[in-house]
Structure formats: structure tokens, C-alpha cells
């Protein structure tokens, strides 16, 4: 086999392979999407984060405005401490409400930010004061049954 | 035989060489107490029946096998005591013609002969081209330089392999059954080439063969090996007129003699008619 033809084919093959990899990375995966411009970190504390994972989306009004950076356990308050990396373009007021929501009925969990009316904005390192923990099915059921029981008792 | 006893013009010296393959069915000795001297500039033949250890001997000289006992000394150095570097340096000065050629089938004839040159020298391509063509011319195949090994006849392949074996002008050339399976013309050609190249290079040649006619025409000295031992040695003339039974049977191609016609078996009458 001619040297140059061989090199040509190998070059073609390798470049096709790399193109396939790039295609997979960008079009199929979410590598292209996770570019937060000049993200700043804010923290939020929750009683129960449910099944929230690192790199879960942070949405406001349904639009992705950031990603969950880190999740840790605070020994002082026995609460979950979540670090949110928010896109620098978006500023949120100090009285923003952070809720853990589920996408769809059984989908993955994400953090939803509902804005308040405060004039002062959250800066890097600030903590969100108002949070709502994730809905845990067991607690929902036990609450339902408790209500049902008290209803029955009151009758 | 110590190194000081070795005659000055001996290139290869084999002293009390024994070799056995480690196998479960006992150590069958392939070679047992071999003593040989290969002088410089001579063609020496090693003859014997099939499976008597001739090829093993070549492998021991080339360092591909380690002896169980004894030593092979090439150009003053003991082969199995050399480290990898020394062994490779030695092999660069040896050429080997394998049975049926062993040409690299994915390269052309030209590239096959250029292979040792490209691997071991830094010669520019133009010089390599000239050298390859010279080697091919010496074996009469300069016009076949661009053919692939699959397109060559047996004799041609053998000649190309010979050209490759002498590509780096070795001091020792070993031939493993160079005459096997060749037509009479090719036999004559290969025999002539062995003699001519040995003389031209001033090298030593060891020809392992059982072709009596072709080899006795060109060799200086003969060793006869049977069952791992040397049974006779001498010049070609001495062998032809030898009275040793094994040599006579071999040279005169007699069917029965020291090497029996019948493979060991039960008594004939007993096997056919049952025990009387």
C-alpha cells in the first residue's frame, strides 16, 4: 500500500473518530450547555434535600440560571448546606425563596428560586434566608394518614 | 577445551555441548557432548538424518537456545554468557538463511534485503538502494527487486533470503537446509552461491543439510551427527571414502544399516499369527 494513501486513510479515520467524540460531547451530552459566565456562589440551608445532586440545575421561572456546586452537612445546625453557582448575569434579591422541586412527577430534583421584592441583591458568599425542603413521599403519606385519623377522631 | 587451546583461525568453537528440551517424558538429549571447530573462511557442513539436532545446533550458536552443558564460543566470546546488548551486537555480524527463506511477506524483495540495513545502519536511502541492488545482483535477482515474496518460486525465495543474510557482510553465515525442495538447477545455483559468497566475504559458513551430492561439492569439512553425537568428521573426500558404517549408509543412500529400516516393533510372525 502506498505510504501516502495509507496516511490519508488513517488521518481520515482518526478525524472522523474525533468528530464523533465531539458530536457526542456537545450535541448529545450537556458539555456545551454548562458554561456559566462569571458564576458567583451563594449558599442555602435545607432540612431535607431529598435526592438533589451536585450539578443539578438551579432554575428561576423555569429557566436554568445556575448549577448546584456542592452539597455538605452542617454539624452546627444539622442541616444540609447547598452551594449554588449562579450565572453572573442574573442577580437575585436578598429575600429570594429557594425551593427544592421535582421536574415531572418522578424526575430529577432541582432548585427553584422564587424572587421577593427586596431592593438589595445577593452577592457572592451570601446565604439565602428562606428555603423549603424537598417533598419526601413518606412524610406526605404519614401526614395524610394523620389527618385522616384526626378527622375520624373528631367526628 | 579452554579458550587458549582454540586454534587462532577458528571463528566458532563448540566444546562439550549438550542440550535437552525440558519435557515431562524424561530429558531426551538432543545433543550430547558435541565438540566442533569452525575455522575462518571455510564452509563446514553438518550432516545427519532428520531430527538429529542439526537445527538445534544452529540455534545454540545463534543464542536462541541455552545449552544444558558446555559452551559455544563465537569470535572469542561465549554466546550464552552474553547480555542482551552483546548478543544483539553478535547477531549483527551473523547471517542466517532459514529453511524455505522466511522472507517478510508484507514487504517487497527490495525491502526485505534493505531491512537489516535500515534497522542497523544510518545509511541514506540512496546508498541503501545501491547496496541492495548489489546484493541482488550477486544472487542473480536484480530484476526481481520489486516483486513480493508470494510471487517468487522456491529457488528464487531462497536466493533472496541468501541476499538478505549477507546484507551486512557478516563474518558467519548459517544455512538451515538450504537445498531442501529445490530443483537440480536451483540446487547448483545455491551451492555455487554459498561457495562464492563465503570466499568473497572471507566469512565462515555452516551448512546444515542432508543433501549429500549438492553439499559435498562445495564444502571444506564435514561433521556427521547421529542421535546427538558426532560419529564422524573430515574433509569431503575423506567422507566419501570413509569406512564408518553410518557414513557409508548415509552417503550411499542405503536403505538399511546403522539407521534401521524397520521402526522398532513386535516380531512380525507374532503380530500376524498371534503368539505361538
Amino acid at each position: 500500500m502506498n505510504r501516502t494513501t495509507l496516511d490519508l486513510w488513517v488521518g481520515f479515520f482518526v478525524s472522523m473518530g474525533i468528530v464523533a467524540l465531539i458530536f457526542l460531547a456537545l450535541k448529545v451530552g450537556n458539555l456545551g450547555g454548562s458554561n456559566l459566565k462569571e458564576a458567583y456562589a451563594i449558599t442555602a440551608r435545607f432540612d431535607n434535600i431529598g435526592s438533589l445532586k451536585v450539578r443539578a440545575p438551579v432554575k428561576s421561572a423555569g429557566v436554568v440560571v445556575g448549577r448546584v456546586g456542592a452539597i455538605s452537612f452542617d454539624l452546627a445546625t444539622y442541616e444540609a448546606q447547598v452551594t449554588l453557582n449562579v450565572d453572573g448575569r442574573y442577580k437575585f434579591p436578598k429575600d429570594t425563596f429557594a425551593k427544592i422541586l421535582t421536574s415531572g412527577l418522578l424526575g430529577e430534583q432541582y432548585i427553584g428560586l422564587a424572587v421577593g421584592g427586596d431592593e438589595k441583591m445577593l452577592g457572592a458568599g451570601d446565604t439565602i434566608a428562606k428555603t423549603q425542603s424537598a417533598v419526601v413521599i413518606e412524610e406526605l403519606i404519614s401526614q395524610f394518614m394523620f389527618n385522616k385519623a384526626s378527622e375520624g377522631g373528631a367526628k | 577445551m579452554t579458550q587458549t587451546d582454540m586454534p587462532r583461525n577458528a571463528l566458532v568453537s563448540i566444546a562439550d555441548l549438550s542440550f535437552a528440551y525440558d519435557s515431562d517424558n524424561g530429558n531426551r538429549k538432543v545433543l550430547d557432548g558435541i565438540n566442533m571447530t569452525i575455522p575462518r573462511g571455510k564452509v563446514v557442513a553438518i550432516m545427519g538424518g532428520s531430527g538429529c539436532g542439526k537445527t538445534t545446533l544452529l540455534r545454540l550458536i545463534g543464542g536462541q537456545l541455552r545449552p544444558s552443558r558446555g559452551a559455544v564460543t563465537v569470535d572469542g566470546k561465549v554466546v550464552h554468557e552474553m547480555d542482551d546488548k552483546g548478543l544483539y551486537a553478535l547477531r549483527r555480524r551473523m547471517g542466517m538463511l532459514f529453511q524455505f527463506g522466511a522472507l517478510f511477506t508484507d514487504m517487497s524483495v527490495f525491502d526485505n534485503i534493505a531491512f537489516p540495513m535500515r534497522e542497523h545502519t544510518n545509511l541514506p536511502e540512496e546508498l541503501i538502494r545501491d547496496l541492495v541492488l548489489m546484493k541482488l545482483h550477486a544472487v542473480g535477482l536484480r530484476g526481481a527487486a520489486q516483486l513480493m515474496p508470494s510471487e517468487l518460486s522456491g529457488g528464487m525465495a531462497r536466493r533472496v533470503a541468501l541476499a538478505r543474510a549477507v546484507a551486512l557482510d557478516p563474518m558467519l553465515i548459517m544455512y538451515d537446509e538450504p537445498f531442501a525442495g529445490l530443483d537440480p538447477i536451483s540446487l547448483g545455483v545455491v551451492g555455487q552461491l554459498i561457495r562464492r559468497l563465503t570466499d568473497a566475504l572471507g566469512a565462515s559458513s555452516i551448512v546444515v543439510t542432508h543433501d549429500v551430492v549438492a553439499s559435498l561439492k562445495i564444502v571444506d569439512y564435514v561433521y556427521f551427527v547421529s542421535e546427538g553425537r558426532i560419529v564422524a568428521e573430515g574433509t569431503a573426500d575423506e567422507m566419501i571414502h570413509s569406512n564408518i558404517a553410518f557414513v557409508k549408509q548415509f552417503i550411499n543412500a542405503e536403505a538399511d544399516g546403522p539407521v534401521p529400516f524397520h521402526y522398532p516393533a513386535v516380531d512380525y510372525r507374532q503380530e500376524l499369527f498371534g503368539s505361538p
Binding site: 495509507l6 496516511d7 460531547a25 | 547477531r91 522466511a102
Partner: protein
Amino acid sequence: MTTSPAHFFRAFGNRINNGIWHLGFASRFMLAILLHSGMALRRFPLVIREIYFTGVMSLIVILVSGLFVGMVLALQGYDTLQRYGSSEALGVLVALSLVRELGPVVAGLLFASRAGSAVTAEIGLMKATEQLSAMEMMAVNPIARVVAPRFWGGVISMPLLAALFSAMGILGGYLVGVQLIGVDEGSFWSQMQSSVDFREDILNGVIKSFVFGILVSLIAVFEGYDSEPTAEGVSSATTRTVVTSSLVILFADFILTALMFRG
């Protein structure tokens, strides 16, 4: 009567002994390949030639197989998903199945059968016709000159082939799912994009294919080098390459999947 079970156990023990010895020999062989890879990497045209023979020559098989696997995934997946009203998740199904598992594994199996067996046959034939011996006698290390380039050629080709397989599969899934069946194109891609994570899924898939490439190339090259120098020896070595590679791929896939996708 007493010799029979003893004989059986001895034979069995022998086989295990042989197997362990083979494993040890193969590991030393791998080490030898790595040590002698310097020449292969310095004379890169040797490796390029092998990338051609293992990678480029396997392209057609990989691309066509990938396309069909993707198409079948879409067909089968749609059938089940639409029963739960989640047919827009077809893209996710096809992409994750391919990128995490089918891409590396099936491409690996195909690679072993096509390229692996070819390499084994090539090296085995060189051994049978004494070409490796001749090379040794010419003071050229056959492991450096013949074995190492083929090993690295396979290692480089395999991840690329797996990526191509996955990409073709997703394309096939798109063709069948969106064009043929009529799943919404937008949700096909967007759901896929939001569910397939680069680090978790794609990178892990690439790591898998890389590991498979190393294993298959090592087995192919080892079986060829270790084969009996006869015609039957080469043919049985070729079969062994395909069988052993396939089993090792599936076993390694289990281990890697357990390690990677535990969460």
C-alpha cells in the same frame, strides 16, 4: 475406580495451573510490550500502518452495525415508551444505551472478531514461517518491531471506533424515531442533551472503550505470539482470540459498570 476421580482432579488442577501460568506469562508479555514500545512510538509510521489495518478496515463493519443497532433501539424503545406516554424520552433511551454500554461493548466485540483475529493470524503466521525467528537472528527484537505497533494501533483505534459506533447509533435512532415514527424532533434532542451527562456517561463510555481496546489488543497480540507454529495452531489461536476477548470484554464491562454507575 480410585484412579478415575484422582485423575479427574489432577487434570482439572493441571488446567487451572496452566491457566494461571498463562496469565502470568501474559502479564510479563504486556510488560515486555510496554518496555519495548519506545521504538514503536519513535517510528510512528509503523503504528499508523497498524491503525489502518485495525481501525480503518473495521470502519464499514462498525458504522453499519452502529446504524442498525441504533435503529433497532429506537424501534424497540418506542414500543415500550409510548405505552407509558413517554415517547419523547426516546432520544434519552437511545443515547444512554449506546454511550454507556452498547457503544463500547458491541464495538469491542466487533473489533475483537475483525481486527483482533486478523492480528492474531498475522503474527501467528509470521511465527509459523519463522519470520519472527529470522528477525531475532537479525538482531531486531520482534516484540518491538512487530508486536508493539500492532498493540498500540489497536489501543488507539478502539475508542475512536466506539465513538463512531455510538454516533452512528444515535443517528440511526434519530432516523427511525423522528423521521420514520414521528417522535418530536425538538424533544428528541433536548431531552437527550439534558439527560446525558458528559462526565458521567460519555467520558465513562470512552474510558470503557479504552480499557477494552487495551484488553483486546493484548489478547490478540499474545495469542498470535504464543501460537503453535503450525496451520492448526494459528487457526486455533485465532478462535481463542475471539472467544477470550469477548468473554473478557463482558466481564470487564460488568466490573467497570459496577464501579462507574453505582449512583
